[in-house]
Symmetry: D2
Subunit: 464 residues, 4 copies
Amino acid sequence: MTTRSIFDNISPLDHRYSLRKDEFEDYTKYLSERAKIRYQTAVEAALVKALAEADVCSTEVAQEVEEAVKEIKPQEVYEEEKKTKHNIRALVNCIQQRVSDEAKPYIHFTTTSFDIVDTANSLRYKESAEELIIPTLKRLEEVLMEIALREKETVQIGRTHGQHAVPVTFGFAVAEYVSRLGTRIEAVIESSQQLKGKIAGAVGAYNASHLFFDDPEEFEANVLAELDLEAGIHSTQIVEPEYITDFIHSLVSCFGVLANFSDDMRHLQRTEIGEVGEHFDKDQVGSSTMPHKRNPINYENVKSMWKQFMPRMMTLYQDQISEHQRDLSNSASSRFIPEVIVGLLSATNRLIRTCEKLVVDQQRMEENFNQSKELIVAEPLYILLASLGHPDAHEAVRKLTLEADETGQTLRELIQQKDELKPYWEQLSDKQKKLLINPEQYTGLASEKTEKVVQHWKEKLDIN
Amino acid sequence: MTTRSIFDNISPLDHRYSLRKDEFEDYTKYLSERAKIRYQTAVEAALVKALAEADVCSTEVAQEVEEAVKEIKPQEVYEEEKKTKHNIRALVNCIQQRVSDEAKPYIHFTTTSFDIVDTANSLRYKESAEELIIPTLKRLEEVLMEIALREKETVQIGRTHGQHAVPVTFGFAVAEYVSRLGTRIEAVIESSQQLKGKIAGAVGAYNASHLFFDDPEEFEANVLAELDLEAGIHSTQIVEPEYITDFIHSLVSCFGVLANFSDDMRHLQRTEIGEVGEHFDKDQVGSSTMPHKRNPINYENVKSMWKQFMPRMMTLYQDQISEHQRDLSNSASSRFIPEVIVGLLSATNRLIRTCEKLVVDQQRMEENFNQSKELIVAEPLYILLASLGHPDAHEAVRKLTLEADETGQTLRELIQQKDELKPYWEQLSDKQKKLLINPEQYTGLASEKTEKVVQHWKEKLDIN
Amino acid sequence: MTTRSIFDNISPLDHRYSLRKDEFEDYTKYLSERAKIRYQTAVEAALVKALAEADVCSTEVAQEVEEAVKEIKPQEVYEEEKKTKHNIRALVNCIQQRVSDEAKPYIHFTTTSFDIVDTANSLRYKESAEELIIPTLKRLEEVLMEIALREKETVQIGRTHGQHAVPVTFGFAVAEYVSRLGTRIEAVIESSQQLKGKIAGAVGAYNASHLFFDDPEEFEANVLAELDLEAGIHSTQIVEPEYITDFIHSLVSCFGVLANFSDDMRHLQRTEIGEVGEHFDKDQVGSSTMPHKRNPINYENVKSMWKQFMPRMMTLYQDQISEHQRDLSNSASSRFIPEVIVGLLSATNRLIRTCEKLVVDQQRMEENFNQSKELIVAEPLYILLASLGHPDAHEAVRKLTLEADETGQTLRELIQQKDELKPYWEQLSDKQKKLLINPEQYTGLASEKTEKVVQHWKEKLDIN
Amino acid sequence: MTTRSIFDNISPLDHRYSLRKDEFEDYTKYLSERAKIRYQTAVEAALVKALAEADVCSTEVAQEVEEAVKEIKPQEVYEEEKKTKHNIRALVNCIQQRVSDEAKPYIHFTTTSFDIVDTANSLRYKESAEELIIPTLKRLEEVLMEIALREKETVQIGRTHGQHAVPVTFGFAVAEYVSRLGTRIEAVIESSQQLKGKIAGAVGAYNASHLFFDDPEEFEANVLAELDLEAGIHSTQIVEPEYITDFIHSLVSCFGVLANFSDDMRHLQRTEIGEVGEHFDKDQVGSSTMPHKRNPINYENVKSMWKQFMPRMMTLYQDQISEHQRDLSNSASSRFIPEVIVGLLSATNRLIRTCEKLVVDQQRMEENFNQSKELIVAEPLYILLASLGHPDAHEAVRKLTLEADETGQTLRELIQQKDELKPYWEQLSDKQKKLLINPEQYTGLASEKTEKVVQHWKEKLDIN
């Protein structure tokens, strides 16, 4: 029963979305059940190491345990759990079976299950953040930075409410995501570094360790230092739940940025817009029945994964509540946390692959821009009129726009025909007139800001 | 890569919660990736069968296809998908490779991918409901009915706000869940029977099938009839999403009933209350460090699983939204629906096992009742006083209660001492006085109602 | 403090979204605090009426109470609550103060607060469904039906993944929402009719009423019959929570249909698509700075309201859990249920107003269709080739599509040039050839299905 | 219509939960519609002030505007909006109507609506955090600190899984919440200080301001500096949504801490436990029908409010998604954000009032402790045995516990009778033996840790 075809699995994360060998090996290293048990044994070994440093046991015992835990296989722990009906007791038994009688008493010494479980989880989530999540997010950030810089001058019509507004550049539009992803990477860094361990016993009051240590908090700090972790300010049977809640919030809110980017790209791929594309392999099928389709499937997938994983945050919020010194009703639910991480990584890796092949159709972008070229002038016109003292510039331009719509004339033509407005036109500087005549130059700071945003995040995130 | 140790899996559903061989085989039959592909091939075969019945192809072709699809393995479909980058096109190719040239053209004839995908999903969810979910829920219902009937006379203090109120019987308390689970089983039956199929093509307008059939809706009905399904009133590329939304709502709201029951049982197992217990195996460990603990782990697990799966409903609500004739952003997310079903089944099976061993500690139940025996009289006393015309009975009894609290006297003693109240006491019937003297008889219809509720649901759900 | 400017209110439902006098009066009739108290007094009066019918009190007493409760003002109940710190006791006191000494004892006789609260809520939600929600939804349904029928022949390109697929008609696209809204109206009808009352006392076991009635369930039925309600199968202190959970699910899932429709309309209003519009008032401003903007603000509003109210379903699911015979942790949360109803009504009324002015730009619709006219042929071509025995029609057409893309030739031209394909062309019937030449006729059953869907729901929902 | 009885309001926040005059005035100052408009006018005034500083207009104009905006009433803005159908254009018109012709052009100069809306919201949420939310949370923190210190030595049985575990002190149990609330206050401080403004125009590229300023980012910074705000790294039409998402996460996760504390207190008030109480007013009614009830209504209310407001986080996560340079589908939904803040404040204020009257029943606490006094010894016994080299201490104690259960003997008696265990007993130090004999001293660091936790947060949060 412990080996099976992936096609007998229930979760898509364990069949369809685990087909890429390299990605899957990354995920499983931190986020599989095997990884969890490995991290738990590492905590048990760190405990004995700290005991040796405190002269409670010998250095040899600590070394013996450190070696022994490397041999522990998930199978044997689960086999043992059939007897004990308790997973950490099973783990302890398995370790004890592999060490000398001298070492046996020091296994799990003075600790409670969740000293091990919570510390191991904080450790693997922290390490998965450092070694996997953040590097993967930064790789995506780099790809977005490249696009932003490459396209910083590419004029694109800005869109608000799905309507043409005033122009930006495509690089500026991507810089939005460079920046938002940047703040999320910072949030992931910060929240993952805050993950805490604990070696404070069954109710967090160091009842047991106090039997043997004058300063049980110092002993706790020593055990955790072996793992490069710290203890929180207070704990009960478990670590305060807010640290993991903050961490998953940083991931879920990061997922929202990916989903928004994907929505934008999806819509820019609409047949009528067609400004960006995903490069398609020669043999790839767009639709099983409509051979001409080019579907934005990767962006759709990312949006869809977000819809699956975002609501999981509700589980974290509910798991903040644990009665008294703890009830176990957060145990099963928190076992699913690795799914959220894998969901985010899977989406990020997909976006990296897709964005590396992101193609801009400059011609379509220009055509779309030209569609509203004339109307774009409305904004600067209104503002310039206002600045020149027109008492109701917004209204004047609104009416002019309607007239332009009906007559097919341009705003700048109309303004010169209107006795009321003509005097204003004549007061404009050459630069201002030029802008009204060349709306594609009305992009404000789009290009400079793109560079600035990319530069900001390169420095902040230490990206070259 | 397609065979792996379960301990390398990410989802707890694919490692920790899939260890019971019989349960897992049930789940995987309907809810694994293998099952999905099997159901999809069944839809493809039903299509050709209907084509044969419409004389579009020969009966031999239909039989050939029916046999061929049985041979399809998930591995080959996924292998083929590497080339096509499209899962249903891959499936179609795999079938075509296994049939004669004569049969090839009829595979997937006039349909779009989601004619197959949505129909197959509706079919497997409907069949999993009929053959697995509903029978499992009914098995739990039976166990609860047994407890309710067995304990229908066992007096238990009723509790509101965690405070002792007036008495019920434990059977009556369990009858609550018999009834609520009953309505949910009904809801699951109803919503699963409503799941629809479709064979209406790429945008739901029968564009392609209309090329070949005078009445394409009739053809659709014929294909679906092979699978014991019906079409909805309208479809786009996909079946209207409300059917599956209603179905998952029925499951999620059923899960809520299990969670509430589990919370009640957890609390009744509190050390200070101790009215019910889970029978523990001789070798089972309660706590890795506190050997004396008897933890309500199964009820905690059910509550916890509910916290994991209940928020998934948000995904369904979000997936109601699909742009125009459909965007694919519900595709990945809906692949996770089987997890919700397995989560519920896992919790239900756990409750069945646990409740079969549910033990009532009648002595503790009586002791707890006795703790409030005297105060319980307050309610009938107030009501009787009121019925006899006391102008402010509630207030009178509230003050009496405070006095009883302070003096240690019983309410019935106090009432006879108060000149103001004594006349009322004397007007009470013998039966009423008896009730005030024997509060354990103040259980109203608890016992009769228990029987009635159980009987109602036995009939409604056809349980013997 | 009890009268205030709406601009001092916190909830947008109580300022910005309550400005339309007629709508607000509808909402407040059922869903304000005043309405709640009015319904509660109605339950108290029904109770006494049933007591009179059971000869427990006189008919005069019942009449006196019925008159008295009409006078109760929310202010006085809240004033009284300052003393009692209990809202229903305050209500009871207020009623008692308004009736004769003879009537006083029968107020609230044998009942617990939640007999009144839950029964009153079920009643007002049921009546608000019958008299307000369902009629409003049906009014929207009618408006959609009109559009669907009016536009049943208006050819529109079908869109999947935001990409042009095969054609539908705009009427058919709207018929999707006629149908989905239809199923939701049915769901609202059904779930609102299921809302239950209870008169079963503090823990649901009829402890108190059993003191006075031989058949307390019959008495409960009589009280509820006065209000046109029924009791559930079982109750505790409260009505089983699944009835209201189902009811709100029906509303929330209905809201999802409105949100999807709004998303579709928003996107069809994109500058590049421009197929539908909202009629704008002459003086209306689109943007404070871009006078040329025509924003789909009403559809955006509906989508946004859905995002606000959909997650409230989580509260309902959490409120399914209430410990033992009830804890009060669902009390405050359930006071917010009226907000969900008002949110939905507000969105529905907005859509009615907007859709009544929905304009189709037939020219843009045709231009957009023409953009893909040639490629549309791909689907029927592939299917026809397949039906004529082409061994790999999908692949052949896919390659042809790429060639058409590159060369600018039409598919039907290309097919006749290819030796491999020409023989198939010649086998096509005239009708089939005609379809390949006139892709705008490739709309399948779009028009007939539109009529059929509208007809179905007219009958089902009794709409003329 | 703009003045109304609060009982005609829909939201409980605008009737039932706004009855306390002082609290309501606090809320309405920042969180009502009136407050929103006031903050928006402040942003418009700051804009003109910065214009004056940049010599675009005169100082007199800026002063004129500053005075004028103070006069703006919500009524007139809403009245004007009836014409413009655009709320910010209405606001601008209202300001322009109140200033000289010279000043008119500078109102709203170069800005877009959401420069004003988002900046005003960031400002009022930041100020409400500084002036209202954080002080209120700190007041609760102080009350909890007082309880923790007062009860730091009060022995209480620790509870895990609702089962008696090893002892803590009640002060230590409260210190958990001091600490968790402490981290949340820190999170609220940090996230509120991060709230950003923007003056970057319709699509965030400074298109309009670039017409007039060489360095439009500097101008933006100057406007925001007037309001003590900063700009984010990038903006579109709106401020990057992650800042407000983080802010509301800090509030929602803070609410979770309050809910958990309330659950603990509720359960400690259970009849069978009775360790803490809420002081009741003399006239307060516990139940309308059961006069003897003492219900933990305030804790129930807080838990219930959490269930209402926690899911609102889903709205924030959904509102992270806004298409291109922005779609308006986050507009209506974000208008409800003040409700979340008021919900949290209302719960916090309630807890302050309740905890100020929190009473510990030391006798019940001791009785409950004594119930498990003997079994508590199991943990130290197991650990001591293990430390002395017992090969299977956990198992040995587990069996001993069962025997103690059956025979009624104490563990320390049993151990001395067992030949196998006796030698271990004799090796124990006097201190260790003493602990086994006086389990109430087995509280580890509970008392010291309580002091330390309180001291830590006093310093961190600058609380005396």
